[in-house]
């Protein structure tokens, strides 16, 4: 078998030649698709529907900055709240008191398993069960609470994994120096754990930015619109997609610098 393989290759293509042909075919398909798109699409209509320059200007000047601010503020507050609650939940999951572990597990599995939209809808109906319940700092309070509830469930698992990724010897060294369990956690374990958690926590921040597009269901009026609701209402009233494109670019304006920042931090660590 082994001896006959090189000779038999005379008829069939060698693996590298075959790979080269397949690659050439892939380029050919790509070029064909681009040419077809260029010839068949109505570029004037597409340009006018997606990138109408006048409408871009109008969108940017009439509420875009407010919407961008609301998206950023809802997300930032929700993330901070989620980080605090998530740390607490992670510590509960690692607790020696079994009921704390159970409670944290139930919370995490419940809110991770439900669509964020369902949680937000239920959240908006809470006053039905708790009459007179109103959250302060409208529109920020309700948005922060809703995003914090969902975010904390995701972040708790990330934080727990980060804490457990810190080698046991670190805690032993800290405890052998006389630190209490709490001091070792705060001074030694958590700083290292958060360092480990930066990439996954950033993913969760980006997810939360996108989830912030759903908080309108907790009952926000036009004055509290974030990017998605703003873009949608502008698109509807102008019968044009351009405002939604602008809103989408608004998201990228937040998420892209974030990704770059994290990549830098990872390179430095």
């Amino acid at each position: 078998m082994a001896g006959s393989a090189p000779r038999g290759a005379g008829r069939r293509l060698s693996p590298r030649r075959r790979a080269r042909r397949i690659r050439a075919l892939q380029y050919a398909v790509l070029v064909a698709l681009v040419v077809a798109a260029a010839l068949l699409a109505d570029w004037r209509l597409i340009g006018k529907s997606f990138f109408d320059p006048q409408l871009i200007r109008y969108t940017l000047l009439h509420g875009f900055v407010d919407a961008l601010w609301h998206t950023a503020a809802y997300t930032a507050g929700g993330f901070l709240l989620g980080l605090l609650a998530g740390t607490l939940l992670a510590l509960m999951r690692l607790s020696e008191v079994a009921p704390y572990r159970w409670l944290a597990t139930i919370y995490i599995e419940f809110f991770r398993g439900l669509p964020a939209l369902v949680v937000f809808m239920a959240f908006s109906l809470l006053p039905l069960a708790f009459s007179g319940l109103t959250l302060p700092w409208y529109p920020y309070g309700p948005a922060w609470a809703a995003l914090g509830i969902v975010g904390s469930a995701y972040m708790a698992e990330t934080i727990r994994a980060g804490i457990q990724a810190v080698p046991r010897g670190q805690v032993e060294a800290a405890r052998s120096l006389g630190m209490s369990a709490g001091q070792a956690m705060r001074k030694i374990t958590l700083p290292q754990a958060f360092r480990i958690m930066v990439p996954p926590l950033t993913n969760e921040l980006i997810m939360l930015i996108k989830d912030s597009s759903l908080v309108f269901v907790v009952g926000l009026s036009a004055s509290g619109f974030e990017l998605t609701m703003f873009g949608r209402s502008m698109a509807n009233s102008n019968v044009n997609i351009t405002p939604l494109v602008v809103a989408g670019l608004g998201y990228l304006a937040i998420t892209l610098p974030l990704s770059i920042l994290v990549r830098r931090m990872e390179a430095r660590a």
Binding site: P167, Q170, A173, R175, L177
Partner: protein, 253 residues
């Protein structure tokens, strides 16, 4: 060895199980102030577990660990307070990777003892100097060699001004050419009168530095005494077999 004075640390009928594995089978063991004790024995003999029971990193299921006569196993004992007086050096160094050498030495002084930063740094500098690393105070652990890391770990433990130092195979993770610098620091420490319990495979160190060598096997102390007896002329067959394997590994199957 002042055998009559009250021991600094002692164990009484110490038992430890890991699952069904009876790792320590009733250890009675005492170390006097100023004594240097080397614990030797095959892997799995329980020597590291015994050492880790002495500052309660492992919790024994039965028996007592007495430090100045106070039982550390007793739930009423403030173990954090006791550990301030018992330094520990680990096989894997366990330096805090985000802190430089100086911060590694000061973090406990500041956190545990509530010391002012300047005072803590003064103490840390003195101890880093003592282990020959005065020029490395700003270095992060990752930028240090294994031998330097272990010396920082010793300085970190010494900064708490302990009455007793525990060494858990301090040179086992080191490249052979780096073992000497760590042993030299430990020898200096012993000569300065520090009470030390050293779990080790370094027979030369045991022979030259130890006041007493303890040979453990199968969760018990098989024999103990001055190094010239236990290492030089062991009485027990098991000790002889072990030393044969350690000192002449090429000729034992």
């Amino acid at each position: 060895m002042p055998a009559t004075s009250e021991p600094l640390i002692a164990t009484r009928d110490l038992h430890k199980w890991f699952g069904h594995n009876h790792v320590l089978q009733g250890i009675d063991f005492a170390v006097a102030r100023g004594e240097v004790v080397c614990v030797i024995g095959p892997s799995g003999s329980g020597k590291s577990t015994l050492l880790r029971c002495l500052n309660l990193l492992e919790r024994p299921q039965r028996g007592a660990v007495l430090f100045h006569g106070e039982d550390l196993v007793d739930p009423d004992c403030d173990i954090d307070a006791v550990r301030r007086h018992i330094g520990m050096v680990f096989q894997q160094f366990n330096l805090f990777p985000l802190h430089n050498a100086l911060r590694n030495c000061t973090v406990a002084l500041i956190t545990v003892l509530g010391m002012k930063r300047a005072e803590a740094e003064h103490i840390a500098r003195a101890n880093l100097e003592r282990v020959g690393l005065a020029d490395k105070i700003d270095a992060l652990p990752a930028s240090l060699s294994g031998g330097q890391q272990q010396r920082v770990a010793i300085a970190r433990a010494l900064s708490m001004d302990p009455q007793l130092m525990l060494f858990d195979e301090p040179t086992s993770a080191l490249d052979p050419e780096l073992v000497g610098e760590v042993l030299a620091v430990m020898r200096k420490l012993a000569e300065a009168g520090m009470t030390m319990i050293v779990v080790t495979h370094e027979m030369t160190f045991a022979r030259q530095v130890a006041d007493r060598v303890v040979f453990m096997d199968d969760g018990g102390i098989v024999e103990q005494g001055p190094p010239e007896e236990v290492v030089g002329a062991p009485r027990e067959q098991r000790t002889q077999d072990f030393l044969q394997r350690v000192l002449d590994p090429v000729h034992t199957g």
